[in-house]
Subunit: 339 residues, 2 copies
């Protein structure tokens, strides 16, 4: 099998994410913490960043969850900058980088969840940056750490490195050919979890799947990250192979499907999130096989976030309305064409 090109990899691997779970030694775990202590902890973390001498100082903006509207919180959730747990956490806060690469959640399941989110297959870079942010914080905060176990966390699955590494993969051909069952099974056997667009318990829409490590104990960080990178590349190869089969099998009917999706994106007046995601997924295939012109793959990846309900409502500055989504997509695709 040919090794996939970087372009092919970054088409299939939409984004890479690394997060480190950390807790402060001097405070009870979030499930035992009282409101006063939780608030003090937020202050301490924010001050640690803001009074430090690193680049983080100017780049990270504190977000106090209880001061935000539900819509604002949902926008952050859809962008993967905060978790569903934090959204409902009264003591929650986050420090978010303007370009949305770094996000430090405070008082989530653990005191700190340091997250780095990057485009494409960039797990090593994401881990490096996450590690640096962790070092900056550790200089002034005392982490709960055991010589035997490593970093201590609220949930035993996170003990050790506290690391979760994940990639978001776009796998339309494997879905179409019914091969996802096999992928899920083999991923599970080697300790990986495969989930939908918004993590645990969410279904896949737009053929997007999140693959992450399940366990963090007893393995080195580099090993975990390397493992996910290796598996990702294997799945990319399988997706590209499936794409070839699909093109051969469907022929003109695949072009027709992609082209119709473009027609609908350019002409519909009302469109729900899931339908939009499916058309965008078809456009990504079209870019991959070279028939869709006038839009970059990364732009479509962005649109897949932008068409989510809260993001749409925020963009339209109005209640969530399916006609606004259609307007937005018509505009986004007005100069996109097909061979």
């Amino acid at each position: 099998m040919e090794r996939p090109t970087n372009e092919e990899i970054s088409r299939v691997v939409v984004s890479s994410r690394v997060r480190l779970a950390r807790n402060l030694k001097d405070y009870p775990f979030p499930n035992k913490i009282d409101e006063h202590q939780a608030s003090e902890l937020v202050d301490r973390v924010v001050r640690t960043v803001k009074e430090g001498n690193t680049v983080l100082k100017d780049n990270l903006t504190p977000v106090i969850i209880k001061n935000k509207s539900m819509l604002e919180k949902e926008v952050l959730l859809e962008k993967h900058l905060i978790s569903k747990e934090l959204l409902n956490e009264n003591n929650g806060a986050a420090l978010i980088q303007e370009d949305e690469t770094i996000s430090i959640m405070i008082n989530e399941e653990d005191h700190l969840r340091i997250q780095v989110l990057m485009k494409g297959l960039s797990l090593l870079q994401a881990y490096d940056l996450c590690d640096k942010v962790d070092d900056v914080l550790e200089e002034r905060l005392k982490y709960a750490f055991s010589e035997n176990l490593g970093y201590l966390t609220a949930c035993p699955t996170n003990i050790g490195t506290g690391l979760r590494a994940s990639v978001m993969l776009h796998l339309p051909a494997l879905v179409e050919l019914g091969y996802m069952g096999g992928i899920l099974e083999s991923a599970g056997q080697i300790g990986l979890a495969v989930r939908g667009l918004y993590g645990e318990g969410t279904k896949s829409i737009g053929s997007l799947f999140q693959i992450s490590n399940q366990l963090t104990l007893g393995r080195k960080e580099e090993e975990i990250v390397g493992n996910i990178i290796g598996i990702s590349k294997q799945i990319v190869e399988r997706e590209l192979e499936a794409e070839k089969i699909l093109r051969k099998r469907m022929g003109l009917f695949l072009d027709d499907r992609i082209s119709r999706s473009l027609g609908i994106l350019r002409f519909s007046k009302v469109m729900g999130t899931e339908e939009a995601m499916n058309h965008l997924s078809n456009i990504k295939i079209g870019i991959g096989i070279g028939i869709v012109k006038g839009i970059e793959n990364s732009e479509v990846d962005n649109l897949m976030i932008k068409v989510q309900p809260a993001n749409q409502a925020m963009i339209a500055k109005e209640a969530k309305r399916d006609d606004k989504r259609a307007d937005y997509l018509r505009e986004a695709f007005k100069n996109v064409d097909i061979n």
Copy 2:
């Protein structure tokens, strides 16, 4: 209820057709005629027209059915210029006007079926022209005629005037609202037949219905024609009323449906006849409510014939292929837009 405008009438009434059934006195009816007599009859009718001194002389082209390929015959059938019966009739022939208004079928169920086909609600004009052609033929041919019964025909339902008048109606709103059942029932009660696009036993596609008189005996020609015109206008009023209800009920979702049809017509790569008919039907609604720009209603009516399988194969000069239909429609709609 407001009286429909001429524009509204010609949008709903796609075409008008009148045909007269006639038999020659000196020949057995077609079910008893032998091949030699049938061939002689064709010669006689063709000579009558070609050696006459009327405008018909230069305008009508003889078509000998058995000399035509199945594809050529199907094209004529789809254009409503010959009937399904004539297509399989070894002794059959037709004299067809270049602009496809007049068609005289020879050796169909009757010796002669003189037909005039016009756009819009033009039954009176169609009848006048049909009557004139009939007069021209009657000058040199002896018709089977009884003082008591009128013109004698092979099937008793045609005896008398031998006249069948029909209109092709586009009734998408009545179909959508489920009101066609009532229309069919009341039409039947007053002696009218409602059929699909290609007459008896064919189903309606693209929301097109053919309405015609069932009986020809004991009524004057003007009465039959006037009756169909009156009923047509009533149904037009009901369709326009239903369209208003539909617009109110569906709102933006109607615009969305029409706009998506345009998007699909402009972008699909493979399309079957029935799907094409449904999109064209939506485009007709869009023209009616004023949101589709860049194409005339009559052009869409023409496309509804052109997308039929044999017409497509003839246009593409190839076997019947759904991708050629999509290509053809993309081209036809490339400059059509929506508000």
